[in-house]
């Protein structure tokens, strides 16, 4: 038997808007191009099957332009079969996305398979697909449990497709709506393609989350991926190869600082050098810095911010260490010095609320910015 190969992907979230981002248009365009990138990846690796493990759409009833374009683009790739299951965002339920899925099915494109029932499907000679479509947004039981008893011809591959979170391995039973992480073993699966988790994750040799092919949040760093899966035969260990297909790189960066750190150097180390135009950054500064260094950090961020598609700076957990030299920068003496010292005292006063301390810190930074080096 020659190796059976397919692309495993999930969480396309087509139609997702990014209205709160300044570069929302570029982000939306990149998301619309997911299908063509998956097609390119499949063709590049001579693969004829693409398994999408749920959440094809962001909303249950997307605008027709969204689902029609997606369906047409899939249909145009006539050499590729698309195996789609509804996820929690597009559950096959009358109140959810059933109408959308029915509409796609009504188009009758032969290479698009909307799998809305939990029954084995013969996807290729000697290869059976066991789908676990979500028919409700939050199922009350493990939607893959039926696979244990599902019969398929002997000697054929058993590949499963599901959407949801796997059970954790903590003490006590997990919630009933999570997937059994050892379903491959229980149901004799050769591979369980999972969706829902937007980052790539290996649960076991045969159980993988592919992650989204185009990132949409700061939870997972790096561009989106899909998985190239190769099965030599029933019972053989799958060969799983990540393929980078995403355009935008979402970087969630936490920078811990202590007084004496060089903020510019830390920033340079933490941020990517290349591809900044397609990079979104959420930078959280934690720890403590001197007044001048904090000002330098802020200035450095402001200087490089335009290079990025998006740059959010969170200094709410940054405390300011104020020393005499910082206050000297404001004024060696006099009323300005007095004002600076009062703000510095409030910034470190444990009797004040956290917000009041942060306000005092920010006011001190602002005073420093206004007058420091200006004849002090």
């Amino acid at each position: 038997m020659t190796a059976f190969r397919f692309i495993h992907t999930s969480d396309l979230h087509l139609g997702r808007p990014f209205g709160s981002f300044e570069d929302a248009d570029r982000l939306r365009v990149a998301r619309r191009q997911i299908i063509s990138r998956l097609i390119a990846a499949a063709k590049a690796h001579d693969v004829t099957h693409v398994l999408v493990a749920g959440d094809v759409f962001e909303t249950p009833n997307p605008a027709p332009s969204v689902w029609r374009h997606a369906a047409d683009e899939m249909a145009d790739a006539s050499g590729i079969s698309w195996w789609l299951i509804p996820g929690n965002h597009d559950a096959f339920h009358p109140r959810e996305a059933a109408a959308t899925w029915d509409a796609i099915r009504d188009l009758a494109h032969p290479n698009i398979h909307v799998l809305s029932e939990a029954v084995p499907v013969n996807m290729a000679p000697d290869a059976w697909l066991l789908p676990a479509p979500l028919t409700v947004r939050r199922p009350s039981s493990d939607p893959t449990s039926w696979m244990d008893m599902a019969e398929t011809p002997a000697g054929s591959l058993r590949i499963a497709l599901a959407h949801g979170a796997v059970q954790d391995f903590g003490e006590g039973a997990g919630p009933s709506d999570t997937l059994a992480p050892d379903r491959d073993r229980l149901a004799g699966l050769d591979y369980l393609a999972l969706g829902d988790w937007h980052g790539r994750m290996r649960v076991s040799d045969r159980v993988w989350y592919s992650g989204t092919p185009e990132r949409d949040r700061f939870k997972h760093n790096g561009p989106g991926e899909c998985l190239l899966v190769s099965l030599d035969g029933p019972g053989a260990s799958p060969e799983v190869t990540p393929l980078s297909v995403g355009q935008f790189d979402w970087q969630d960066i936490a920078l811990a600082v202590v007084p004496g750190d060089d903020p510019s150097a830390l920033l340079k180390t933490a941020l990517p050098d290349a591809g900044r135009r397609d990079c979104l950054v959420s930078l959280r500064i934690n720890g403590r810095l001197g007044l001048a260094d904090a000002a330098q950090l802020t200035a450095a961020v402001e200087a490089i911010r335009p290079e990025f598609c998006h740059f959010a700076l969170d200094t709410s957990n940054l405390s300011i260490d104020v020393d005499a030299a910082d206050l000297d920068m404001i004024a060696a003496s006099g009323a300005l010095r007095q004002a600076g010292e009062a703000l510095a005292r409030d910034g470190g006063d444990p009797d004040l609320s956290d917000r009041d301390r942060r306000i005092a810190d920010a006011a001190l930074r602002r005073l420093h910015g206004l007058v420091a080096g200006d004849g002090a």
Binding site: R16, E58, P62, V66, A335, R358
Partner: protein
């Protein structure tokens, strides 16, 4: 602290090291020409005390010579009796150095040295630093005009009047404090109102509005999405219902049941027809029997009614005849009354015509009387007019008034000329000798001693002598008399009379004729105010007595005859109305009686015809009646038998109706469901087309972003408020702490120079704004440059004294101060300096060698030394 020496190396013009010193406890003078380095020394001293060794700020950069290199400044100090040395170097790009030595031993270096020096000069509690500075002031405070220039002037004034780059700024924060506060206030005013609410048009208000908008839009979209989900659920429910209705098995059962019900009901309808036929037959037999019985009864009754009608018809005929006779009698009476009424009307009409004729005659007679009067008035008026015309002609024939007037004037002139001529004639008086013959004039002897008038050109006879002519001198009077006489003669000639008297007579006659003519005209106007023509027009309207009729009675007789005729007419009219009413009543009664007779006759004839139409009675009538009774009984029995076997048609009809209703309702419901489904699909498609779910996700993200932004702006507002409050609090505290004590220290210094003098401070800027001398307040702007400079100097000195009293002996450094003070004043300033120098070290830098020669202080100069700390 006291400064003992200062060493500069590679500082501006001092490439090679130089030192200045030693500085004593009191006043020390460095008096050098311009460009010799005093200001460099001043700036270097300021840098070593106030600029950190790290970095290379503008202040240090300005000290660097053109050749570049490391800038070095060192100062020898005495603190609490011990010798200290501080030194700093700055080098661009390579960092600097700082060190503090005590008695030649390094105590601190780097940042520690900076901190030690900062502590040394730092003002206590935010007050003035341990070094006090006064630099050369400006000559004028006049603002140049523009706002910016005015602000620049104010900044300079701050420099001038408040301790130049030193203590006052240190106390208040100076321009930097003002700038920082201004930024706070401007930033806040862009965000909030004076009451702390979001300002319309500001970022805060806009963020609040954005959140509200997004929240509202998000709620609206959530509603649409919920509606979409509901529609989807409803569509599923409707589709299920439709599918159930369209199930073929169910449809077949429904149709078969309907067919059975229709067949059963058709059978029941046929049986019902049979029953109805039997019922008709039984009803017919029964009816035939009943008809036979009723015919016999009706014949008997008809005969009774026929006899009664005959009798009543005869009575009615008699009554009708009586009524007709009564009607005819009433008609005769009515005709008579109508004739009498016509006669009375004619009589009344004639009497009224007679009265009218008498009234017309009376009017004609009255008109004839008025006509006679009017004819007399016309005659009189015409006579008066005739007289007036004759007199007017007579008056017009007299001499013209202007000629009379001219003659009067001429006669008066002649008389006046004659008098004048007479008065001017020569007079003679004689006094004769005894025996002399008297002189005679015109033959008359002229007696002696009497004045005699001698007419012109008349000779006197002088007996024995001859004749003597007295010649009078020619006078204009003679010409005047002649001219007057000529004018008179001309006027009389024009009037056609020979002399003036005749003219007067003719004039009087003409005037009299004119007056009589006016009197005649007045008489005419009295008789005919509107003219004689009007009287004649009126005369034409009046009738003459000839037109009055003569064959009419007197008016009173005619009026009595008319009253009698009218009374007779009224009576005749009332009689006619009464007769007519009686006739109408009789006629109506006769008509009614005739109608009643006719109706009863008709009834009689009808009954008679009915009786005649009845069949003739025979002997078989009894047998026929029995047969009819038997046939009726049999038909009734057949009907009862059919009714016993009849199905429940109502129940079958109800079932059929129900099943038909079910069938119709099913069809209707199918149609309704299809319609509802189509509508729902359209609604769902429209909402999906709008992408409401994506919009909702998008809007929630925007709402979250807007809320985050609002939180940031609120935080930002709080930060600005906190900074503003901190700055205002510090500034207020500085004011409270220093300015009252400084003013107190300043007062004796001002009094030394100007007697009763005091400075007034502005509350907002903390700058001196006016000087009060002997109760008169003078704004600082209008004071001379020298006075302003002296005030700045005293303010500075007051701070120094204040610090000295507090045990902090801060060196006072004066750089080209007092440049505008005159010789008298500068000596008094020197006195003040010396008085202050008991407690203070004062270093004076000046280029005015001659003026400062009288300062009486030891002098120092720049001395070259070997480099190195």
């Amino acid at each position: 602290m006291k400064i003992r020496a200062i060493t500069l190396s590679n500082v501006r013009r001092f490439i090679d090291p130089v030192t200045v010193g030693p500085f004593g406890d009191g006043i020390t003078l460095l008096c050098q020409p311009n460009e010799s380095g005093k200001s460099t020394l001043f700036d270097a001293l300021h840098a070593v005390f106030f600029v950190r060794h790290t970095g290379f700020p503008g202040e240090v950069s300005s000290l660097q010579p053109y050749s570049g290199g490391k800038v070095s400044v060192a100062v020898e100090l005495e603190i609490d009796g011990q010798a200290w040395r501080i030194a700093k170097t700055w080098q661009k790009g390579a960092g600097g150095e700082a060190g503090v030595w005590r008695r030649g031993v390094l105590q601190h270096q780097g940042d520690q040295a900076d901190h030690w020096i900062a502590d040394l000069v730092a003002g206590e509690g935010g007050g003035p630093s341990g070094l006090l500075w006064v630099r050369q002031g400006r000559t004028t405070l006049d603002a140049a005009g523009s706002k910016k220039e005015a602000e620049t002037e104010q900044a300079h004034r701050r420099d001038l009047l408040t301790l130049i780059s030193g203590a006052m700024d240190a106390v208040t924060g100076g321009q930097r404090m003002d700038d920082a506060l201004e930024v706070c206030r401007v930033s806040l005013s862009a965000l909030e109102t004076s009451t702390g609410r979001p300002k319309a048009g500001g970022a805060w208000a806009e963020a609040e509005a954005s959140v509200d908008t997004y929240r509202s839009e998000s709620d609206r979209l959530a509603g649409l999405v919920a509606g979409l989900r509901d529609d989807l659920e409803r569509r599923r429910s409707l589709q299920a219902s439709l599918t159930e209705l369209e199930d073929p098995a169910e449809v077949a059962i429904r149709k078969a049941a309907l067919k059975d019900a229709e067949a059963a009901f058709a059978n029941a309808e046929r049986h019902a027809d049979l029953i109805e036929s039997a019922r008709t037959k039984a009803r017919l037999a029964s009816q035939t029997l009943r008809t036979s019985e009723e015919d016999a009864k009706r014949r008997d009754a008809l005969l009774g009614r026929y006899c009664d009608a005959s009798e009543r018809s005869a009575k009615a005929d008699a009554a009708a005849k009586t009524a007709v006779s009564h009607q005819e009698a009433a008609q005769v009476e009515h005709e008579t009354a109508k004739a009498e009424l016509a006669k009375a009307a004619a009589d009344a009409q004639k009497a009224r015509a007679d009265l009218t004729a008498t009234q017309r005659r009376d009017a004609i007679l009255q008109s004839a009387s008025q006509r006679a009067d009017l004819e007399k008035r016309i005659s009189d008026a015409e006579a008066a007019e005739k007289t007036r015309v004759a007199l007017a002609a007579e008056a017009a024939s007299g001499p013209p008034a202007e000629v009379v007037q001219k003659a009067n004037a001429a006669i008066q002139a002649v008389q006046a000329a004659r008098i004048t001529q007479d008065q001017s004639a020569p007079r003679v008086v004689f006094d004769y000798l005894d025996g002399a013959l008297p002189v005679s004039l015109d033959g008359k002897d002229l007696v002696a001693d009497v004045e005699h008038k001698v007419p012109a050109d008349q000779p006197l006879d002088l007996p024995g002598i001859g004749r003597m002519t007295v010649l009078s001198a020619a006078t204009p009077d003679a010409n005047a008399l002649q001219a007057a006489e000529d004018a008179l003669a001309n006027a009389l000639s024009q009037a056609g009379v020979g002399d003036f008297q005749a003219l007067e007579i003719a004039s009087k006659a003409a005037e009299q004729a004119r007056q009589l003519a006016e009197r005649a005209m007045a008489q005419r106007d009295a008789l005919a105010p509107d003219g004689i023509g009007a009287l004649k027009v009126r005369l034409a309207t009046l009738t003459s007595a000839d037109a009055a009729p003569t064959d009419v009675p007197d008016t009173s007789v005619a009026e009595a005859a008319l009253a009698l005729a009218d009374s007779d007419f009224v009576k005749a009219q009332e009689a006619e109305i009464a007769r007519r009413a009686e006739f109408d009543a009789m006629r109506d009664a006769a008509t009614a009686a005739k109608a009643a007779a006719k109706e009863l006759a008709g009834q009689y004839q009808s009954l008679k015809a009915e009786i005649e139409a009845l069949p003739v009675q025979t002997a078989d009538d009894g047998t026929r009646h029995i047969a009819l009774a038997d046939a009726s009984a049999e038909a009734t029995a057949q009907l009862a038998a059919l009714e016993d076997k009849a199905p429940d048609q109502a129940a079958l009809k109800a079932r059929l109706d129900r099943l038909r209703s079910v069938d119709a309702q099913t069809t209707t419901r199918e149609q309704t469901l299809r319609l509802q489904l189509a509508e729902l699909r359209a609604t769902i498609a429209a909402r999906a087309e709008d992408g409401v779910e994506e919009d909702l996700v998008d809007m929630r993200a925007k709402l979250q972003a807007a809320e985050d932004r609002l939180q940031n702006i609120r935080f930002d507002v709080d930060v600005w408020r906190r900074l503003r409050d901190a700055l205002e609090a510090a500034q207020g505290a500085a004011r409270d702490r220093y300015f009252a004590p400084v003013a107190k220290e300043l007062r004796p210094l001002l009094e030394d120079l100007w007697g009763d003098a005091e400075l007034v401070w502005a509350d907002d800027t903390l700058l001196p704004k006016a000087l009060v001398r002997k109760g008169t307040e003078e704004k600082l702007d209008i004071l001379s440059g020298g006075t302003q400079e002296q005030i700045a100097f005293f303010v500075r000195l007051a701070f120094a004294r204040l610090l000295a009293k507090a045990g902090r002996h801060a060196p006072l450094i004066l750089d080209d101060a007092l440049v505008f003070s005159d010789d008298d004043r500068i000596e008094r300033m020197f006195d003040a300096l010396h008085a202050a120098a008991d407690d203070l070290q004062i270093i004076v830098l000046s280029c005015r060698q001659r003026a400062f020669r009288d300062l009486g202080a030891p002098e120092v100069t720049f001395e070259s030394v070997s480099a190195g700390p």
